[in-house]
């Protein structure tokens, strides 16, 4: 009833290659965008923005980036936390060195810097694969964090070793620093998410995305049919790191406001983003969002339930949270290896036939 494709005829190639080929789906997409941009900011409270929506948006970007690398190109990385740190420190250095240039440009530049670092640490992927590559990215994780905490130049010789974001404005409204309002922070993050998701979607279904997927499915065979593994793997590392770097830059400059490399971008962040990608669904743009939503909202709900409703101590709730996340990973890998996206797809199949299932 609601979700129909019957009677929708495509008369041109452009119409046939829409991202959302079904009109109902396309309308739903525009509706979601309209609600996110126009309705949500009106009702947004500080609590919702700070603990749910903004982290969700930022982690979505990071998960999108990691999904490009793992889900589309098949290169396992455990260095996401460190690449987020590269983005954060790059935007910090840029913000303080060139205060007159707009912060948004700095954030994009931080992404570019991270892409460069990502390519550097992606170079070993040309020779090593699988777990070996995961260990190589661990080298990036530990080395970069060590570098950022040990080299005073990176945190501008501040006595605490922390970096803190100065106030920067956009159209006269502060978007970073302590005076930025929840609504502007939300809108800035949302804009980045929309643009980057559009970019990711179109990259992955274009020629470069197909090359990534060929490498993922079998690299030697891909090489034989003419995919250049050097180009495919390094572009995947570059694009992925670009996304992750922007996520790190937003996390530091717009969301946290102050950060310390070891604490904010440790190995646990790498795993968190990896879990988002697995739970959401490997090789799916929607999956990155679903996974991020699940792992940002889930712990908050669990905490509300256990601490506020049942009155458990917070440390116990934290342990239960770890157990639940671990179990979810296992359940998803066993029951639904393609993650939440696969559930969504099944639901859509059902909806297409509803209410006449035959």
């Amino acid at each position: 009833m609601i979700y129909r494709e019957v009677g929708q005829y495509k008369t041109s190639y452009v119409a046939d290659s829409h991202t959302f080929p079904i009109i109902g789906e396309r309308r739903a997409y525009y509706l979601v965008l309209a609600v996110a941009f126009l309705v949500v900011p009106v009702f947004l409270t500080d609590y919702w923005a700070q603990s749910i929506l903004v982290p969700f948006l930022i982690y979505s970007i990071a998960a999108l980036g990691l999904n490009i690398l793992i889900g589309y190109c098949g290169q396992l990385s455990l260095g996401t936390g460190a690449f987020m740190a590269v983005g954060a420190y790059a935007v910090f250095k840029l913000m303080t060195a060139f205060p007159e240039i707009n912060l948004l440009i700095h954030i994009v530049l931080a992404g570019v810097v991270t892409a460069g670092v990502g390519v550097l640490f992606g170079l070993p992927s040309l020779r090593i694969k699988g777990f070996y590559l995961a260990v190589a990215t661990l080298a990036a994780q530990f080395f970069l964090i060590w570098l950022f905490t040990r080299t005073p130049w990176f945190f501008n010789y501040s006595s605490t070793g922390m970096i803190s974001a100065p106030t920067r404005t956009l159209f006269g409204m502060p978007i970073s620093g302590p005076s930025a309002s929840a609504t502007t922070v939300y809108l800035v993050c949302l804009s980045f998410v929309v643009v980057l998701a559009w970019l990711a979607r179109n990259l992955t279904r274009g020629s470069i995305g197909r090359q990534w997927m060929a490498i993922r499915d079998m690299d030697i065979a891909a090489e034989i049919i003419g995919v250049n593994p050097l180009k495919a793997k390094l572009t995947a590392f570059a694009v992925s790191s670009f996304f992750v770097g922007i996520a790190g830059a937003l996390m530091f400059a717009v969301y946290l406001g102050a950060a310390e490399a070891g604490e904010a971008f440790g190995i646990d962040k790498s795993f968190l983003v990896l879990f988002m990608v697995i739970i959401g669904g490997l090789g799916s743009i929607l999956g990155a969002f679903l996974g991020a939503a699940f792992l940002v909202v889930g712990p908050v709900l669990l905490k509300i339930l256990l601490v506020n409703q049942l009155g458990w101590p917070t440390d116990l709730a934290a342990h239960v949270e770890i157990i639940v996340i671990g179990m979810l990973i296992l359940v998803f890998l066993i029951a639904e290896p393609h993650g939440l996206t696969a559930l969504w797809r099944t639901l859509k199949e059902k909806l297409r036939l509803w209410p006449f299932p035959h």
């Binding site: 020779r127 080298a139 065979a221 009155g311 996340i325 990973i329």
Partner: protein
Amino acid sequence: MPDQLLFALEVTLNGLTAGIMYALVALGFVLIFKASGIFNFAQGVMALFAALTLVGFQSGQIPFSHLINAMFGTRLHHFGWNMPTFMAIIATMAVMVLLAFLIERLVLKHLINQEPIILFMATIGLAYFLEGLGDIMWGAEVKRLDVGIPQGMSPMIDDLTFNWFGYGFYLDRLDLWAAGIAAVLVVSLTLFSQYTRQGRALRAVADDHQAALSVGISLRAIWVLTWSIAGFVALVAGIMWGAKSGVQFSLSLIALKALPVLILGGFTSIPGAIVGGLIIGVGEKLFDFFFQSTIGGATENWFAYMLALVFLLFRPQGLFGEKIIERV
């Protein structure tokens, strides 16, 4: 002999003993990888879990007391008795075997024929689960583990080296014990896999799953056995690390340290794990010793990974690993 050289020698010896400790963890990885092709990320957490359970049994803690108290408002904490160390070790081993059985039953059975990367991620999930479970069962505070292994400076080595060089080396007795235990462990594992029925079956499975099945070896029984042995190695590693630095969360991070050890030694070689551990241990101690003044301390955090990374570029299968042959 000049002082600098003596210091370097002492650092090297300490690196060797530290390397043995890494190798203890890496051994568990190699065992599971050989038998099932699974890269078990949870090995470090298994060591933590085993150590927590051992301390819990020793001091007579009631499992899940924190949880039960929170749910029912009771005030349970201890049974009020202390278990002798030997009994506690046996009880912990029983728990680890039970764990191996449950892992096979609930997780691995359903993941047969999946890609290695999926299995790897499953063990990451397992690591999280076990970490939370250990904390809920026994509490998250740092605990002291004492199983009667002597600790502190070894006076014998100190005297001996003082007589030789006029400078006494500092070596922890615990580390020397660890080296001895590791040696016993490797020899007994080798004997087990060469001369017992179960050990031969284990090697057959490692060689070829299908061929092993066709001569009547039960894959699932062998997997339970492998994970039990890995649990045993984890227990030994947990005891040694726990006695050295207390039983706490950071214990599970040694698993990450074992990864470069594996890369150097090769994923499938038990001697490789030992040699890799020694190289990493000596390498990071010496690197720190020579470069501390120029690039700052705490290089142990990343040196092992960087060494592994550079090494991989030249020899992707590790020192003793089997040659990687790829077919389309």
